[in-house]
């Protein structure tokens, strides 16, 4: 019980997110209207993804410091759950964009190109592609120790170069996505009122804890499978 308090916290926060997020009051902003409720889901997915990838890199560094294969398994599982969060972020973002960016009177196929070219979307795609490449790299090396070492090195290298890609470049290129100077509406996450903040921050914590929870279950499974390798 004393170790599972954060799992309970995660469930409580997510129940709160769903009830308060779907029923609570939101400011009626032009264009956004009720879709702003997606903030509690879409933005949290990207926060969760970045936090999980960060944990994965920290585990990779720990592996290189100790050469304990346990940390390699941690690193891989956190990366996988991070990818799942990223894909969910894309889906929720796609739903949001179909109401706010897309023109309802035109066909979706005609507009897809201009929406998908947004720098923020490219940055997110780069993050996912890097971790897909990480998984491919892992599977292409046979030897367990070498696999762990090479993939940890790639993980650290790619993550460090990912940061400018996600945080700096979207600010240089013009974008429809909120969070840029000059973009229409500004960032809803930055300008939200108190009523939304008290739901948004617990939502981020709740979703991230859920991700960590899933990852720990996958880690336990992987450790059991690899038991013959680990002492």
């Amino acid at each position: 019980m004393h170790k599972s308090w954060w799992k309970i916290l995660s469930v409580v926060l997510l129940v709160y997110t769903f009830t308060a997020g779907l029923l609570g009051e939101v400011p009626k902003l032009p264009l956004l209207q009720e879709t702003i409720r997606n903030l509690y889901f879409h933005v949290c997915m990207w926060f969760g993804m970045m936090i999980l990838f960060t944990i994965s890199v920290v585990q990779a560094i720990r592996y290189l410091r100790s050469f304990d294969l346990k940390y390699d398994i941690y690193s891989r599982q956190y990366a996988i759950v991070g990818i799942v969060f990223g894909l969910l972020g894309y889906i929720t973002g796609g739903i949001w964009a179909s109401f706010t960016w897309a023109d309802q009177n035109k066909s979706i196929i005609g507009q897809f190109g201009s929406i998908a070219r947004d720098p923020k979307l490219i940055g997110a795609a780069i993050a996912l592609l890097i971790y897909f490449a990480y998984l491919i790299l892992r599977d292409s090396v046979q030897d367990t120790d070498k696999k762990a070492r090479v993939s940890a090195v790639y993980n650290i290298f790619a993550y460090t170069l990912l940061f400018p890609a996600i945080w700096i470049i979207p600010r240089i290129l013009p974008s429809l996505h909120p969070g840029n100077p000059g973009a229409e509406g500004g960032n809803p996450a930055m300008e939200m009122d108190m009523k939304m903040r008290v739901i948004f921050y617990p939502a981020v914590i709740g979703w991230t804890l859920l991700g960590v929870w899933i990852a720990t279950i996958k880690i336990r499974l992987a450790l059991l499978k690899e038991k013959k390798w680990l002492s």
């Binding site: 592609l129 790299l137 090195v153 790639y154 240089i172």
Partner: protein
């Protein structure tokens, strides 16, 4: 008369640069035999080895960049407005590409000596730099646009970051 317009010229140029870099730099690590790596291992420290590789690949890529720029101008015409600045950007871009791909070649060399895996690993990492380079060099075609020095500084910072990462991380790849 069949010359492409400036935007196409620019896009084509950087895509060709990318492929030149993959092919030129991949050789540096993938061609080394196991025995020769062992020989280097007994001779030099990993840091000096990776620095030597980076310097050699940078020089090779600078040469290749200038050569491909020369060929582009001869065969596809010269839509450049600021030729000297574009040459500078070409050198900077070639240098950035060669640094990133040198280190990726070192990683790929550990993964079954496979050149395809290097492209898979490299594309997502290089896209941001390529985006910045294309955007910067767009300004070299139009008389009214200026090349932003902050973006150039950002690219140089990223290059230094790559060098530092290579020096820190290569010793872990080195031991076998």
């Amino acid at each position: 008369m069949d010359e492409p317009e400036a935007k196409v010229w620019n896009g084509l140029f950087w895509v060709i640069q990318l492929f030149i870099c993959i092919n030129a730099v991949a050789k540096s690590f993938l061609q080394e035999s196991r025995g020769r790596m062992l020989y280097f291992y007994s001779l030099a420290s990993p840091v000096s080895f990776v620095l030597a590789k980076l310097i050699f690949n940078s020089l090779l890529m600078l040469l290749m960049s200038l050569l491909s720029l020369f060929l582009f101008i001869i065969f596809l015409g010269n839509p450049l407005d600021k030729a000297t600045q574009f040459i500078g950007l070409t050198l900077l871009g070639g240098w950035s590409l060669s640094l990133v791909f040198s280190f990726l070649a070192a990683i790929a060399a550990k993964a079954q000596q496979n050149a395809a895996i290097m492209a898979v690993l490299g594309f997502p990492i290089i896209i941001p730099q390529l985006l910045l380079l294309m955007r910067l060099s767009n300004a070299a075609f139009a008389p009214l646009l200026t090349i932003s020095s902050t973006t150039v500084l950002l690219l140089i910072t990223m290059d230094i970051l790559v060098i530092m990462l290579s020096v820190i991380l290569f010793p872990f790849l080195w031991k076998d």
